[in-house]
């Protein structure tokens, strides 16, 4: 049985596992369970108060974007992925991912409710700020096709819509847009600001890395199982979606950092976005489009290495709750 399908009575038994990668990702995701209230934000409030207006704007802007969009990912999963996937191991993972998106949203809520931020403005931003609203509309367009125009997953067009939605929420929203946001959020910690918020972001990035792995596996599996999708026209359409997303992100970043802050400006972030977009393109089998270098070499420190925590001073985010070993 292929991974795509809508039979309600199919996929009720986990064994035998057909897609081991989905099962492995589920196990790891469960071990990664964390809660925002493990992080205390007292120090960060002190930092936030002494930051410049432009810095505070950038943080508020980011949170305003992430908060609703974590839940938007859930809609994409609930309406566009879960109903059309038939492997129970994939359903298990998706259920955990959806809880994680909820947990991320609650984390940004936690920050929003703790930091001295104009909440009304923050909650309204995803509608009021055109560059943010445009990104949201782009996503919504693909989710709508999965709900309002009921698709038939057995047809080529139905499968294409499935892949389009995956590309939109997983590759673009989670894999490019979120990732550039993470870089900006973590940049504050490199200057010894918002360290605890940085710990929350560490956890979120850890989760999102799994989401991306799952999405990438799912896309490649669907392509592999459905030769009718392997056409140059469809490939070109997908690539175009990503290029368009980069362009949208550039406008958004100009609003995120209209001036500049220490170590960052909009052009710098945009170069990072292009670096990420090339990586996603290559992972999908395309040639890189932008061929730029990663300007944020410091991400080696912020994200790429094992972290040794001086644990009287900082939250250790490397621990795993070990569901398997404790049973």
């Amino acid at each position: 049985m292929p991974i795509l399908g809508t039979g309600v009575k199919d996929g009720l038994l986990l064994k035998p596992i057909r897609y081991q990668w989905a099962m492995d990702l589920y196990d790891q995701a469960v071990a990664n369970t964390w809660f925002p209230n493990e992080i205390q934000l007292g120090e960060d409030i002190a930092d936030f108060k002494k930051m410049t207006d432009e810095e505070r704007h950038a943080v508020t802007f980011l949170i305003s974007y992430f908060n609703p969009n974590e839940l938007l990912v859930n809609k994409a999963l609930a309406f566009g992925v879960y109903p059309y996937v038939n492997a129970p191991e994939a359903h298990l993972y998706l259920a955990k991912q959806m809880w994680e998106e909820a947990n991320h949203s609650m984390s940004f809520e936690y920050v929003l409710e703790t930091f001295p931020i104009n909440r009304e403005e923050a909650y309204g931003a995803h509608v009021d700020i055109p560059s943010m609203a445009r990104k949201e509309e782009f996503e919504v367009k693909f989710i709508r096709r999965m709900t309002e125009e009921k698709i038939d997953i057995t047809t080529t067009e139905g499968k294409k819509d499935f892949v389009r939605n995956l590309i939109a929420y997983n590759i673009i929203l989670e894999g490019i847009w979120f990732y550039s946001g993470f870089m900006v959020a973590l940049s504050f910690r490199q200057r010894n600001l918002l360290r605890n918020f940085g710990s929350l972001v560490d956890w979120i990035v850890r989760d999102e890395s799994l989401h991306l792995k799952f999405g990438m596996n799912l896309i490649l599996t669907v392509l592999e199982e459905n030769p009718d999708l392997q056409t140059p026209e469809f490939a070109a359409e997908i690539k175009q979606m990503i290029l368009e997303a980069v362009e949208m992100e550039e406008q958004y970043n100009n609003d995120l950092l209209p001036g500049g802050i220490l170590g960052l400006n909009a052009g710098y972030i945009n170069q990072y976005v292009k670096y990420l977009a090339d990586r996603r393109l290559e992972e999908l089998g395309f040639d890189p489009e932008y061929k730029v270098t990663n300007p944020a070499k410091w991400m080696a420190t912020a994200n790429d290495t094992l972290e040794l925590v001086n644990f009287f001073e900082s939250t250790n985010t490397s621990y795993e709750s070990n569901a398997k070993a404790s049973s």
Partner: protein, 815 residues
Amino acid sequence: MAITVVKRDGTREPYDANKINLAIEKAAAGLDENITWVTQIASELELTLFDGITTQQLDEAVIQVALQNVKDDPEFDTVAARLLLKTIYKRVLGDYETDAELLQLHRSKFRAYVERGVAEGLLDPRFPALFDLDRLAEALTPAHDSLLKYIGLVTLNNRYGIKARNGEPLEVPQYFWMRIAMGLSLNEARATDVAIEFYETMSALDYLAAGSTLVNAGTKFPQLSNCFVMEMHDDIEHIAKSVRDVMWITKGTGGIGLSVTKLRAQGSPIRSNNTVSTGPIPFMHTIDSVLRAVSRGGKKFGALCFYMENWHMDFPEFLDLRQNSGDPYRRTRTANTAVWISDEFMKRVQHDEPWYLFDPLEVSDLNELYGKAFSERYAFYAAEAEAGRIHMFKKIAARAQFKDILMSLQTTSHPWLTWKDTINLRAINNNTGTIHLSNLCTEICLPQDIDNIAVCNLASINLSRHLQADGTFNWATIERSARLAVRQLDNLIDITMSSVPEADHANINNRAIGLGMMGFTDVVERLGISYESEAAYDLIDEVAEHISYYAIQESIDLAKERGSYPNFAGSRWSQGMVPFDTIDLAEKDRGVPITVSRKTRLDWAALREQVKGGMRNATLMAIAPTASIGLVAGTTPGFDPQFSQIFSRATSNGKFLEVNRNLVDALRQHGLWEKVREQVLRSQGDIQGIAEIPDEIKAVYKTSFQLSPYSFIEVAARAQKWIDQSISRNMYLETREVSDMIDIYSAAWEKGVKTTYYLHMKPRHQAEQSTVKVNKAEEIVGKKGFGAVAAETPGTSAPVPTGATARRGFGGLGA
């Protein structure tokens, strides 16, 4: 876009690339390849600029750009440190051009620094009268600043450096060292001479005082002691008093060990109001909140570790204190936990016997007993329970509880395992009562009671600075450091103020100190030997023996000069015993061999005679974690292995990249570093899978998770022979099998290790890396294969791993 820079006075000037280039060039002087670095740093800096950047931001941005290149070459760390030093000099001392001018400024402004500090009520008001400030100024050696790595300089400057009331920084690093030296020689007859001696050795990083001392020495409120060890008694007055004491000690930056074993269990009767107790957990939560409230402006939280014996009825809930879920009022998110384990328990685990939990109210003497006496009494209570004569008890399998402890340790890194009988049976000061707990970092072993809050005062020798080019230790400088450090710590006891009378009382009557050491891994790497080799074990054995010997000698000399500590009579010192002699005592009581080598090298017989005559200090040694001062010293902390060959450190001053310079040097000698550095980063500092690297280098440079966990135990066990207190023994594990953990922690007990500390588990999953090439599709190897389409379509860029077919996605579809 034209970029203008906002100067300190608010005026703007156009961004001057030339000026920046000159500054970078100067900071890179004398280092390899500095010409390419100047252009590289400058061009990377320009990426980050924006119109209206301030000069201060510009300074910081240049440093950040230099730092982000450390992953490629650790020399960039030197560039960053020099750039930061320059900004500190300019802010504190003003503008200068040459090194000679800088030296002159250091000297000429020293008196004004001291006088301003005193006038603002920051520095000790006795300074100007007690010291010859001109002589001290002459002794200042700014050249020592070049010993500091970037993270060390940041730590020193941010954490320890003093600021004026208006926020202006008052200290350059050498003023800081001199202030510490002065603050620890106030009681000396020749205060200036002694201060210069302390200054010279500490500023050369030969040994360092511990954190609280570095924060407070020489200030108007010198709370200089590092460790406080106390217990809560089973009455509401004393609980309230303990909360009060925790507040005061935390305000003074002291770390706290707090035993809650004596508190009656949940559901235990309270006579006065005919109700029942809530047990210790809610009181621990209260203390946990206190630690966050008294937190130096939210920047440094209080640090405390709760201790409980594992026969306490509420111990199962104690294990949950650090869980990340559940009722937050029954959790301690800030405080740490440690379990105080008896030999009786370890034996019951080995023999798979039952274990009983009791309410302390019914077994009130258990907490005072240790060794055989504890075992006998415990067996008596167990029999009473079986006979139905104990009101509250629970019977479980000892092994089941040991597994619960280890599972909790694996998932939350708590509780730390500490062995009360090894500690008590080896205690030199068993004349002053039972040791009920260790401290925050599990290296202190001192008796305390309701009238005495045990206090310890720490310093650590930097082994790395005493290793000579020929690969031998300079025992003469080690002796000098050990003796000076002991004298300095003894001075500290008469200078410190704690705001807790029970602590001052214990401090004066015991004069307990803990000289430690750091840099062990740094040293073995430079010697080209593996951490897990017999050579390394013998080395730590030898070094610990020497340092212990010198420290005891100095304490003997100090006793002659200043008198013995008041509780000396009746101590094991007074009976002619040295720490090594207590191993046999512990072994005899335990009835099971303590499996550690008994090799000795020095003339201990002579020393045994001398200690009988008097000792200045109740204890002399303890190996602290040195997590912060190790950064200042620029070496590996305590006995810690190399966490990984490249890793990040999260501290209260931010996140820093650490690249093992010893490895980089070794690889450079083979012409390999540039070739393999991206692979080293990709593998997160694990070099074992990199084909180009020779096996002899791989053997020396294992990550903490690759070394045998038994090597951590062996290193601790060898050092523990000589150390009267204990060792903050960090542990690192890759295995998640509880049966492996049982073996490892049982081995620690068998080898006579007194305490273990934090357990680092190797993370199984890491976020997607940003700065190295990533292509997840290459890792995804499909069973069915998508290769058919991909194979027909040349021109795709993704390389295919050999022997497997990568999925190609849209590859070759006209993209």
